[in-house]
């Protein structure tokens, strides 16, 4: 299969920077996936082929890496990604109520994106802020000690 997309000069420059830090091209695989996802929002089959070609590994091998990690998105995501912690401390402190409220408010369950592309909702393992459970992240922002009131206010900040 021939790649339908190529990497942009900017993406290549960033990947080259990572390749220079490791003894072999393929060792930059995860960094390359992060870089392209940062620019394109997710990793399409075409993007995957382009990265694999650039790193001189097979697309299958790169896909086995891409699908292994929780935060490499192999499907398109919304403009904002909600990562709701569903691990034990948040379970004890009632994350299920927060989940219920998000479902009601946005009409999406785990793994789904709102029809307007505003939010994707994903479950996430322990966010490491257990003394302030329940917690979630939206994009790069952490929100803790969630309550029904604070959740509404937080969601309103994202468009």
């Amino acid at each position: 299969m021939i790649a339908q997309e190529t990497l942009t000069p900017e993406e290549m420059a960033e990947i080259d920077h990572e390749i220079a830090l490791v003894p072999m091209r393929r060792a930059a695989a995860i960094e390359a996936l992060k870089i392209v996802q940062h620019h394109r929002g997710w990793i399409s089959d075409d993007s995957l082929q382009a990265i694999a070609g650039y790193l001189e590994i097979s697309p299958e091998e790169l896909d086995s890496v891409a699908t292994f990690y929780n935060l490499v998105f192999r499907r398109p995501v919304g403009r904002n990604v909600i990562l709701l912690c569903d691990s034990i401390s948040c379970y004890v402190m009632g994350y299920e109520k927060i989940y219920g409220q998000i479902r009601e408010r946005l009409g999406i369950s785990f793994g789904q994106t709102t029809p307007d592309g505003r939010f994707t909702l994903l479950p996430n393992a322990c966010l490491g802020t257990c003394d302030h459970a329940p917690a979630l992240m939206i994009n790069n922002e952490l929100f803790r000690d969630l309550t029904e009131e604070s959740l509404d206010e937080i969601l309103d900040r994202y468009h």
Binding site: A27, A29, V72, S87, I88, M93, A125, C126, C130
Partner: protein, 422 residues
């Protein structure tokens, strides 16, 4: 009471920059270490009885002593394991957000002790603030000559890089972490060879937990006897203990190693929240056995917790209260472990989802009496010695102890064909 790890941490102000850190004694330990022989640093750390704070509890100096020092290995690596992802664990985040230079200084000394010239911080993606602060602190350390070529004029060179992961619990397992750093799937490696001899890119490598490395400057400054005197019972030093769940004040505290469980829960965390009763706790993260009321007076050191049938693990405790269903609690844990299994070996890949399904059916009131026997069989089949790494045996620890201490709650679900908590 001395609190070396947190004495310069306060979240009421920005964390110390390089100048503040130096004013408070920062990088003095590095200056001292660089005047010593690498072997004598390793000996000092070994004599201090510092044990790995990531969960396994192995003597840190002894781990370092397995790195070949005969000059035949020009490339060696030192890695800080900052992939904190054990559910219920949040201590390394505090150390990195509170005082990033302490970790960096600990890493430089440790790298010098094994004569490594390249070091990595393997950081969890979710720790954005820690990532920003560490990046800035590393820049300061480079500019001041604590990192890079010819450190403080001694001829010793060390590069330090920050690697941010893309999320997978198994990356915390040290050989899986090495595969992730090599750009591969994070499946654990067979041991031997141990990473100390053949680690990252086949070179001698030491992987240490963040809290472990943060202890190093203090041991170099004050000596092994001082470090030992900090502990209360069987173990040396202080420990960052944590409590989460339905207590009055969830949080983290630096306490003498070996403080009692009762002191931690009642004095530090303020006891149970109003209206909630204590039923049990996982003392050191999701992959440790439950301790219950009869254990409240045990000391939280490696040996005492093991004698009570559990593990100190990461030292961050998760409380089970009487409003929370123990079956639902354990189901949540096994869901996590099943999802995070790397899939490499069969007992873990197949056994964990099966365990999760049985627990879910019991929780939904669809359990059969023979399911408890089936779960017990799993705790043996997925136990130590049957799997490639410690993930599945760790996953079985809360389950096997829940079946022991909360058996009648499991039976009630099956008898009543519903969860009594719902």
């Amino acid at each position: 009471m001395e609190t070396p790890l947190t004495q310069h941490i306060s979240f009421d102000r920005p964390c110390y920059n390089l100048r503040d850190y130096e004013k408070n004694g920062g990088y003095q330990a590095l200056r001292k270490a660089l005047s010593l022989s690498p072997e004598s640093i390793t000996n000092t750390v070994q004599a201090s009885d510092l044990k790995g704070r990531g969960g396994a509890g192995f003597n840190t100096g002894m781990k370092w002593s397995f790195v070949p020092m005969n000059g035949h290995y020009p490339v060696k690596y030192l890695i800080a394991n900052a992939d904190e992802m054990e559910p219920g664990t949040f201590k390394d985040r505090m150390l990195m957000e509170g005082n990033p230079h302490q970790l960096i200084e600990g890493m430089i000394i440790s790298a010098f002790a094994i004569q490594a010239n390249i070091s990595y911080i393997f950081l969890r993606w979710a720790y954005k603030k820690a990532g920003r602060l560490l990046t800035h602190a590393m820049e300061e350390a480079y500019a001041a000559g604590y990192l890079g070529k010819n450190i403080l004029g001694t001829g010793y060179n060390l590069e330090m890089y920050l690697h941010t992961g893309v999320g997978r619990y198994i990356c915390g397992e040290e050989t899986a972490l090495l595969n992730a750093l090599e750009g591969k799937r994070a499946t654990p490696r067979a041991k031997p060879p141990f990473p100390q001899v053949s680690g990252l890119f086949g070179k001698p490598t030491i992987v240490n937990n963040v809290e472990t490395l943060c202890n190093i400057p203090h041991i170099i400054n004050n000596g092994p006897d001082w470090f030992k005197s900090l502990g209360k019972g069987n173990d040396a030093g202080t420990k960052i203990y944590g409590v989460s769940g339905r207590v009055k004040r969830p949080g983290l505290w630096e306490l003498p190693m070996g403080v009692s469980m009762r002191e931690l829960i009642e004095d530090c965390a303020g006891g149970m929240a109003n209206g909630y009763r204590f039923r049990g706790a996982l003392p050191g993260g999701a992959s440790t056995d439950f301790l219950v009321e009869e254990h409240l007076d045990i000391n939280l050191d490696y040996k005492s917790v093991a004698a009570a049938g559990s593990r100190l693990g990461t030292g961050t405790m998760i409380i089970l209260d009487d409003h929370t269903c123990p079956v639902g609690f354990v189901h949540n844990l096994e869901h996590f472990f099943a999802q995070e299994s790397c899939g490499w070996c069969t007992p873990c890949r197949e056994g964990l989802p099966w365990t999760e399904k049985i627990l879910l059916s019991i929780e939904r009131g669809e359990g059969r009496p023979e399911d408890l026997q089936l779960l017990e069989t799993h705790t043996r089949l997925l136990g130590p010695g049957n799997t490639f790494c410690a993930l599945a045996p760790g996953a079985m620890e809360p389950l096997q102890s829940a079946l022991k201490y909360f058996r009648e709650d499991f039976e009630k679900h099956i008898d009543q064909k519903k969860c009594p908590w719902r």
